[in-house]
Symmetry: C2
Subunit: 110 residues, 2 copies
């Protein structure tokens, strides 16, 4: 259906990287924390997504935050394009939420 231009894993990864650069498993942990365990990214989806997202220009490899960081870790940063993509996706989700609210499916905003 490709109802959203961004696949769910890609969206969550971009959201996790919006706070700052992270390495692969750090991203997975951040997503787990942000969603309180509701979203659990397996390693297959994680690394495949990172690779594709880098090729698409949504993220780029970044320098480690500390000079003495674990050299196995590969850090990624969100790009301007990635930021635009996740913003557009969030706006699209917001329209859905608004549609639900219009139909009395959610409490009114405070």
């Amino acid at each position: 259906m490709q109802q959203r231009s961004l696949n769910p894993p890609v969206f969550h990864i971009l959201l996790a990287l919006a706070d700052g650069s992270l390495h692969g498993l750090g991203i997975a942990d951040r997503i787990d924390a942000l969603t309180r365990g509701a979203v659990d990214l397996g390693p297959g989806t994680l690394y495949r997504s990172l690779k594709e997202m880098a090729e698409m220009g949504l993220i780029r490899e970044a320098a480690p935050p500390d000079s003495d960081a674990d050299p196995r870790r590969k850090y990624y940063a969100i790009t301007a394009q990635g930021r635009r993509a996740v913003a557009a996706e969030a706006a699209s989700l917001e329209r859905l939420v608004q549609a639900a609210r219009d139909r009395k499916l959610l409490p009114e905003r405070a």
Copy 2:
């Protein structure tokens, strides 16, 4: 990843039915209109989803709105359970939107 308990097609169908009963293709048209063409439900997903949703109790078959309606059409109505499910899903999406807003990816609410 099943980060959402409701599959995207199911969510959109429930949202479309929140306004009132519709038949299969009417649902597809309503979704197309609500999302401005961004979501295009193919017949495969549409009728399979309707069948499964009826079995799950999210929707039920309903009487046609007019007595002289096209007898080929099968109308569906959302159930109380379906209403709860779509509401929970919308609330989950809203948390994602809020996370994006917290990260300055969306304009502040008015």
